[in-house]
């Protein structure tokens, strides 16, 4: 019996031992006070990590492709301040220098970029034109190139150590914007020795990756030799917590300082916590009910208008989502400065009923959506209820996107509730308008087709003036609105909750910046 007990205790100890051994090194605890940085000379604005202060961040989306920049992991790396691009852009498409100091379009298909002198990668090697050309050429020719570079035939040549020439197969006015996409991040030549380019030690950002524990955390340390502003926070621990409730719980328990993607249902709880704050800002993303124009009943304008008139967007935004979204008037929202500023349609149930009668709706209309975005099934139920009040009977199906997609793309559906970004990688919606609303668009779910609209949108390819492009976007948005091409209902908003100790958080609608030099954390 004693032997058995001893064996049991030994077994339990052996089981517990690896757990303890796998625990985080104490060096990353907040109590650590090892100096990690020296003041950067010749830079009056430099802020320096004088001690190893620690920022703990909970990320909503863990790396999916081993931190490859040929994937959406590029956004994660950019948000954590690990990678940088030649150009920085905002959601409205305004550009600023970053690793490039200036650029110029030499011919319709050629651009020249001057690189910033004195930039080095985390491993200490200098960033020169050869490294930049290698990085962009490798991205552009990879088997799954970043969306911003796809189909451009982009080739980069080193002209001199600090100048590159970028050429494209067709005239392209968006080259600078394309090179602001996180997928165009500049990594040193040694990053490409493996099949998956590794950003560890090979990027230029304000933080370098110290340790990556897959599925658990990424530990970062400040790049004290950064060309611009080394961060004041010495260490960052990015925990990968996919479950939104678990992120909020960790924040409320004081285990992390910042949690992104706070679910709408928990916004109120977080707001009531005296130790926490919430940052909400507009995203270039719209949730809309896509309507199948290729078959009855939505091939008739009254049917589409009936849906439009029956939806109470304000109730969905304020009551159901507790302010986590804004009511939408069109596909483009306040995240872009040139938002057409259309008035949100008011609910008119009488008119909706009249139009529904006129449109001769079938007994049941199908509304499909998918659960990957938690709020969509809830919205579908509220929409069914609202349409029911206008005597439009709805049958909801919630299934994985991949299951629904063949039928949606094939035009075998009635209504599809979808949330979609209009400026994913390049802060310019030309590609979005072309794929989603032109007759030959590969993602034209509404199956909308108007030759005049197509001419305007496809004409953007040769339109280089920003103001002219914006005029076309606004006109396109108005066309879609007039024809009730789907029913945009909400503009999504980012919800970041953080500890009161944390200041300097910057709202970035493009979701490319989160951990920045501006952040400060009180000890």
């Amino acid at each position: 019996m004693r032997l058995r007990s001893l064996a049991l205790v030994t077994a339990l100890t052996l089981i517990a031992a690896p757990v303890g051994a796998a625990s985080r090194p104490k060096a990353t605890r907040p109590t650590t006070t090892t100096p990690t940085a020296k003041p950067k000379p010749n830079s009056p604005t430099t802020t320096v990590a004088t001690k190893a202060s620690l920022l703990r961040v909970a990320l909503a989306f863990p790396p999916r492709a081993g931190l490859s920049v040929y994937s959406d992991d590029a956004f994660l790396l950019s948000r954590l301040g690990v990678t940088e691009t030649l150009v920085r852009a905002n959601a409205s498409g305004d550009t600023q220098p970053q690793l490039a100091t200036s650029w110029e379009q030499i011919t319709p298909t050629t651009w020249q970029f001057s690189l910033r002198p004195g930039v080095s990668f985390h491993d200490g090697s200098p960033m020169d034109s050869a490294a930049v050309a290698n990085a962009i050429n490798k991205s552009a020719t990879s088997s799954t190139p970043p969306r911003a570079l796809r189909g451009t035939g982009m080739v980069v040549k080193a002209i001199d150590p600090l100048t590159i020439e970028v050429s494209t197969t067709k005239a392209d006015s968006l080259v600078a914007l394309r090179l602001s996409s996180p997928g165009s991040a500049i990594l040193s030549t040694s990053a490409y020795k493996s099949a998956v380019p590794s950003p560890i030690g090979n990027a230029t950002g304000i933080y370098s990756i110290d340790k990556y524990t897959p599925d658990q955390r990424i530990e970062l340390k400040a790049n004290t030799k950064h060309w611009d502003r080394p961060p004041s926070i010495g260490l960052v621990e990015a925990r990968l917590i996919a479950d939104p409730a678990a992120r909020v719980a960790a924040l409320r328990a004081g285990e992390i300082d910042l949690a992104e993607g706070v679910p709408a249902a928990q916004l109120d709880t977080v707001r009531k916590d005296a130790n926490l704050k919430v940052l909400i800002y507009d995203l270039p993303r719209t949730t809309a009910i896509y309507l199948n124009h290729s078959q009855a009943p939505f091939n008739s304008l009254p049917a589409r208008m009936a849906i439009d008139k029956a939806i109470d967007r304000n109730a969905l935004a304020t009551s159901l989502l507790e302010g986590a979204a804004l009511p939408a008037a069109g596909y483009f929202g306040p995240a872009v400065a040139w938002d057409p500023d259309v008035v949100v349609p008011k609910v008119d149930l009488g008119e909706a009923k009249r139009l529904a009668d006129k449109a001769n709706f079938p007994k049941k209309i199908r509304l499909w959506t998918y659960p990957a975005r938690a709020e969509l099934p809830e919205l579908a139920i509220a929409i069914k209820d609202m349409l029911g009040k206008a005597d439009i009977d709805v049958e909801i199906t919630v299934a994985e996107y991949g299951t629904l997609e063949p039928d949606v793309l094939g035009g075998r559906y009635d209504m599809f509730l979808l949330s979609r970004s209009y400026t994913v990688d390049v802060p310019d919606p030309a590609a979005y308008l072309a794929s989603d609303f032109t007759c030959t668009g590969s993602y034209n779910l509404n199956r909308y087709c108007d030759k005049r609209f197509d001419n305007d949108v496809l004409g953007l390819a040769t339109q280089s003036t920003r103001s002219a492009r914006v005029r076309t976007f606004v006109a396109a948005a108005q066309d879609l609105d007039l024809n009730v091409t789907g029913v945009p209902i909400l503009h999504d908003r980012a919800r970041i909750a953080h500890s009161q100790r944390l200041t300097g958080l910057v709202a970035d609608p493009l979701e490319q910046r989160l951990v920045t030099s501006e952040l400060r954390i009180a000890q």
């Binding site: 999916r64 897959p214 960790a250 328990a253 996107y401």
Partner: protein, 319 residues
């Protein structure tokens, strides 16, 4: 001529030699075909996982199909898969292009640590509660029964968030999630153990209540054996049931603890398989299914062997 009855060791050996390889082949077929039967196009799913892109470019999909070797005939791919799997190589993940074997091993080590501790805790607590409930007819027995009933009626998706709120957020006794320290193990293990504790306690109690009126217990009592000695004798009868439930839990919880893994952000095998399904990551899914199936086979065989050792009568019935 009467054939001699085979020994227990021989039976166990035969099971390992015959059952395991057959099981492995069946698992290989299942692991290979399941993603295909689910109608997942791995190239499209991979691109969606890499880029959150609902509408991947068909040219890129075609190029990726070539890179992943998906244009080869299914038989060729199965042969390749089987050959590699037998060497312990499950290839590279479609999404990350990193070896799935090492990723599955990491996930398995998390799940294994959690599940072994859970089953050990559940066995200790469950047996103790069951014995108390059977032996004590007073308030103590009723309390033991109530505790096991509570464990059975509180599913992980209710108990998990409740424990996080009380012990993680309000009292801050333990971390709300994550993996890497013994403290982080406490809540998931307790939540995961609640169900098995209840079932083990119930089996122990029922078996002991059946055993207590039997003659060998009366004899033991008449020889002056105290309550603890009587309990030990009566429990000897219920060991088989407890062992069987513990083994079932051990195998089931390895991949079936997805809810608890999600609530506590644990990078375990359940999450590994669910993510593989969601991303259409066929090599990761095949590896996950293979690992889970193999462990179930091994644990099942070990449980059979342990049952024979626990109850010598089975040596004469096992075939």
């Amino acid at each position: 001529m009467i054939r001699p009855r085979p020994s227990v060791e021989r039976i166990g050996f035969r099971r390992l030699i015959v059952t395991l390889p057959l099981g492995v082949v069946a698992l290989s077929l299942l692991a290979f075909n399941l993603p295909l039967l689910a109608g997942i196009d791995p190239a499209t799913a991979t691109l969606r996982a890499r880029y959150s892109d609902p509408n991947p470019d068909p040219a890129i999909v075609a190029s990726l199909r070539g890179e992943l070797g998906l244009d080869d005939h299914a038989l060729v791919r199965f042969g390749r898969f089987l050959l590699r799997a037998l060497q312990g190589d499950f290839g590279l993940s479609y999404t990350s292009r990193l070896p799935v074997g090492s990723a599955a091993w990491r996930a398995l080590s998390v799940s294994a640590q959690m599940v072994v501790v859970t089953v050990a805790l559940a066995s200790l607590v469950g047996v103790a509660l069951g014995m108390v409930a059977a032996m004590q007819r007073g308030p103590l027995g009723r309390i033991a029964s109530a505790i096991s009933a509570a464990g059975a009626s509180l599913p992980p998706h209710v108990m998990g968030p409740l424990c996080v709120l009380i012990f993680g957020i309000w009292l801050r006794f333990v971390p709300t999630g994550g993996w890497g320290s013994v403290r982080q193990m406490i809540l998931p293990v307790v939540v995961l153990a609640a169900g098995p504790i209840a079932s083990i306690a119930e089996v122990t109690r029922t078996e002991m209540l059946n055993a207590l009126p039997q003659s060998f217990i009366r004899t033991a009592r008449s020889k002056g054996l105290g309550p603890s000695g009587v309990a030990r004798h009566a429990f000897a009868v219920s060991r088989l049931g407890v062992l069987s439930i513990a083994a079932t839990n051990l195998a089931g919880l390895l991949s079936g603890a997805v809810l608890v893994e999600t609530i506590f952000s644990l990078p375990g095998l359940g999450n590994f398989i669910v993510t593989a399904v969601r991303n259409g990551d066929v090599p990761a899914l095949q590896c996950g299914l293979f690992v889970v199936g193999s462990i179930s086979l091994v644990v099942g065989s070990l449980a059979d062997a342990a049952a024979v050792f626990a109850d010598p009568r089975l040596r004469h019935t096992a075939r």
